[in-house]
Subunit: 146 residues, 2 copies
DNA sequence: TTATAATAGTTGCATAACTAACTATATGTC
DNA sequence: GACATATAGTTAGTTATGCAACTATTATAA
């Protein structure tokens, strides 16, 4: 495969960074064409849960750069699809922990393969050095702007 | 002023490219703090009309990377604010040309100053070379993904 | 201990995005 | 000229975003 193959952990940060509009739209279409009826926003939540299950909604806010209200409603929708469930924390009754259901597990490989292929196509002709610069610029712009 | 000062024509493409999330949010807040009650999406339309007044809705689709339905409703909202008006083309009766009203003109300088300052803050410590690379990568990613 | 402040999450409101289905006008072909 | 096709714009339906106001719980301070 091309040398644009990504480590798993890098994938979302690159999509969320380099590619927020055109690649996101392409990825959404590729999900749909494969019969996967989830949005990329929903997928971004699942992505973080596949890395670490049982995150709080607040932690998902931080990791996906969204506000509380957006996360509340995203989780609502993913819960309706039967892919996650909220379980109240025993340590702090204010907190909802979000857990993947069994139905979510088969999606992991399929969506990862599609995302990886979409990224490879999007990043054709772009060197790893350029990608590193883009990621670095994004990080600094984010820090400068918050 | 810093050497990150932008030429007018570059500003939007950079904001639309480098900065789609964190800088956009910051810019929205800075507009609001200055008493300017427009969204950045509305501003992106005005920005193109200030460069060239009387564009068709289709042309605005192309220039702002949005679909027809999005433009229809964005123009609806900007029209409600009294900042633009639709005038039917005489050459082709399918076409609406979008013209700025007198009320839109005073916004130009104020929003440009805020946008320029917001960008300067966001891009502190980032070199012109890095910005060029980011813009170039975005262009190629866009071409690869459409 | 009680009053105050901070935090986690939900809900209401407004804006915006995309898809798909629709109307109206133009264009192209037989 | 007539029919098929393409183009410009609108509308309906769904999802998502942000802000502000709200409830419930936890932490802090007098």
């Amino acid at each position: 495969m091309s040398n644009n193959q990504f480590k798993r952990g890098e994938l979302y940060s690159v999509i969320n960074g380099v590619a927020s509009t055109s690649v996101a739209r392409r990825l959404q279409k590729n999900f749909r064409n494969a019969g996967l009826e989830i949005t990329i926003e929903q997928w971004s939540i699942l992505y973080h849960l596949w890395k670490e299950d049982g995150l709080s909604q607040q932690e998902l806010c931080t990791r996906t750069f969204r506000d509380k209200a957006s996360i509340t409603r995203l989780i609502d929708n993913i819960e309706k699809l039967g892919l996650v469930e909220r379980i109240a924390s025993k340590d702090d009754r204010r907190v909802n922990l979000v857990y993947l259901t069994d139905a979510a597990k088969p999606l992991q490989e399929a969506t990862y393969n599609i995302a990886n292929q979409t990224m490879n196509e999007a990043l054709q002709g772009i060197s790893k050095e350029e990608i590193e610069i883009v990621k670095s610029v994004f990080q600094r712009v984010y820090e400068n702007s918050k």
